[in-house]
């Protein structure tokens, strides 16, 4: 009954009185058994809160609704298999069991499977992403690169097994066999998005013509599946890698009705993998036929061009008149004029001879002589006018010179000289004033410095009652030194006095030549 007494002060008997006493571990174990027994398999609907993914590979997350929070853990092995990776804000249904964590008085859910709570939840998240990427301009049609007409090398990012790669290769072979590099990736599950991103980036990183040649075109393909299966292609990282690809990219994910995020950023969205192969290459046989056709047109056009010209030449040749008819008229006219030529020559000669006879008749020496006399008279007239003209020109020049000379006056020069002399005097006066001011300043400073020197000198100290003791050329500052001297000289402010140490009285009439102490001597100052 001790136990009961301890448990309650009333000490009355009742069901409470018999309550078993647990240790902490016992009660924790009991709770664990109850919780794990009762909630060995539960489905919980809630919104994913904070998600953390430490390096261990386990995923820790919170499930929450508007009032409560439930801690959850997804062990590493399970996390890798999940078709949908938990993301913050996603409405999910988690399946698993509850367990307790006695060390911290906590319980949590061990999640075995996690699915979006209906397609609506995923679609809502996808819509959010679409809006975000569209706002960044990643869906802009101007960003889309043209798909090459005939790529040399095609890079295919898809699962190496399955119908998709087979369909693509078959269709390529049918249309135009090409070099194909397959980059194997997981097309669903947690590894899907990172592997697809790495593949797109990896193809872009290859060097054209290298040992692993860079493709001219990338096809990212996957067959149909549920929205959860296709979810990797809705990841933002995949869309961004596709948008950043320098190589034109065709997306072909799922069936025609499935549109994933990568389809919005790819340069061409093919409804199916087969359609992607069709967009990737033209049909070789069609092209061969086309080339033949062009060849035929080329030959026909050339034949036609020469044929038409030949025809035209023949037509023109036919229209040419006969050569004889071209010259007949001319020949007739030649005959006619040829006949008239000698007669015309004879007539002309006759006329000229008559004209010569007339002209010769007028030519006589008297006529020549008359011409000479006339010219001599003209020369005589001109030479008579020559001398007066010279005299007149000289007179004119002299008159102009006189005019100028009168205008030349000494007074103008004198006035100018006087003005300049005035300027010189003023400048000289200013120079003298400035000089005086300058030397005055220097003198004042010199006097001030001299006063300062006097003040600082030891002679001023003498005026205050100190004396300098000298012996010969040295200054004596110690008694011991003074005692050994024969004669000392004491300098006062008003003069010097010679003394004999120990002897008393003045030493001789003529003081020994004093030696000026060094002005900088510290002991005096």
């Amino acid at each position: 009954m001790d136990l009961i007494d301890d448990d309650g002060p009333d000490g009355e008997s009742g069901p409470g009185d018999n309550t078993h006493e647990f240790t902490v571990s016992e009660i924790s174990g009991a709770v664990k058994r109850v919780v794990e027994g009762e909630f060995a398999h539960v489905r919980v609907r809630g919104e994913v809160g904070r998600v953390s993914r430490p390096r261990s590979g386990h995923v820790y997350l919170d499930l929450k609704d508007d009032r409560s929070v439930l801690s959850g853990v997804i062990w590493k092995g399970v996390a890798g298999r999940l078709p949908t990776q938990p993301e913050e804000g996603l409405e999910v249904i988690a399946t698993g069991r509850l367990t307790t964590f006695p060390g911290q008085s906590k319980y949590q859910m061990v999640i075995e499977d996690i699915r979006p709570a209906g397609a609506g939840a995923l679609m809502a998240m996808l819509e959010e992403r679409k809006k975000k990427l569209a706002a960044e301009g990643l869906f802009d049609p101007a960003r889309k690169r043209p798909i090459p007409f005939l790529p040399e090398i095609i890079g295919v990012v898809t699962s190496p097994s399955g119908a998709v790669i087979r369909d693509i290769l078959h269709r390529l072979r049918d249309r135009f066999p090409r070099k194909v590099l397959v980059w194997p990736v997981a097309v669903q599950g947690a590894k899907c998005a990172p592997e697809v991103v790495r593949a797109i980036e990896g193809f872009n990183a290859l060097t054209p013509g290298g040992p692993l040649p860079r493709p001219d075109l990338i096809i990212v393909a996957r067959g149909g599946g549920s929205i959860e299966d296709l979810w990797g292609f809705n990841e933002e990282s995949v869309a961004r890698a596709a948008a950043a690809s320098g190589i034109p990219l065709i997306s072909a994910v799922g069936h025609e009705t499935d549109t994933t995020l990568i389809d919005y950023v790819s340069d061409y969205r093919a409804p199916t993998p087969t359609a992607a192969a069709e967009r990737a290459v033209p049909v070789r046989l069609d092209l061969l036929a086309w080339v033949d056709q062009q060849d035929a047109r080329l030959t026909r056009a050339m034949t036609q061009a020469t044929g038409q010209r030949r025809q035209r030449m023949m037509d023109l040749a036919r229209a040419l008149p006969r050569p004889e008819t071209l010259v007949a008229t001319a020949a007739q006219r030649l005959d006619l004029w040829g006949e008239r030529l000698p007669r015309a020559l004879i007539a002309v000669t006759r006329d000229k001879r008559v004209a010569l006879a007339d002209a010769a008749a007028a030519l006589r020496p008297a006529t020549l002589r008359r011409g000479l006399v006339d010219r001599r008279q003209a020369v005589g007239g001109l030479s008579a006018r020559l001398a007066p003209a010279l005299v007149r020109t000289l007179a004119d020049g002299k008159r102009r010179l006189d005019d100028r000379a009168r205008g030349l006056r000494l007074s103008v020069i004198e006035r100018d000289t006087a003005r300049k002399r005035g300027d010189l005097d003023r400048l000289a006066a200013r120079l003298a004033t400035a000089g005086r001011a300058q030397t005055g300043g220097w003198r004042d400073r010199l006097e001030a410095l001299e006063r300062l020197r006097q003040t600082l000198g030891y002679t001023e100290t003498l005026k205050r009652g100190y004396a300098v003791v000298r012996a010969g050329d040295g200054v004596v500052t110690r008694k011991a030194d003074a005692e050994v001297q024969g004669a000392l000289e004491i300098e006062f402010a008003d003069g010097r006095l010679g003394v004999i140490p120990g002897g008393g009285g003045a030493a001789g009439g003529k003081p020994k030549k004093p030696k000026a102490p060094p002005p900088e001597q510290g002991s005096l100052l």
């Binding site: 399955g162 090409r178 070099k179 590099l181 397959v182 080329l298 050339m302």
Partner: protein, 80 residues
């Protein structure tokens, strides 16, 4: 007419150039001298197109990856 040598043209470039040559020759208003040059160019372009079409060789390889996921080489790819 492009300055690029015919031997360096891609199929598509050669195709466009050939179309252009045929079109001009068919228009019939090219002087005879030029039309002969055009015809020769057309023949070269046609040959280039055929060469590119003959390069239809199928070769499929799968990229092999190292532990870090970086490409290290290729291996023949057998259609499953």
């Amino acid at each position: 007419m492009s300055d690029k040598p015919v031997e360096e043209m891609s199929f598509e470039e050669a195709m466009k150039a050939l179309e252009d040559v045929v079109g001009r020759l068919e228009s019939g208003d090219v002087p005879l001298e030029d039309s002969i040059k055009l015809y020769e160019r057309g023949a070269a372009l046609k040959k280039r197109c055929e060469t590119k079409l003959k390069e239809a060789e199928e070769k499929v390889a799968a990229i092999t990856l190292d532990e870090s996921g970086a490409p290290k080489g290729t291996q023949p790819f057998d259609t499953p």
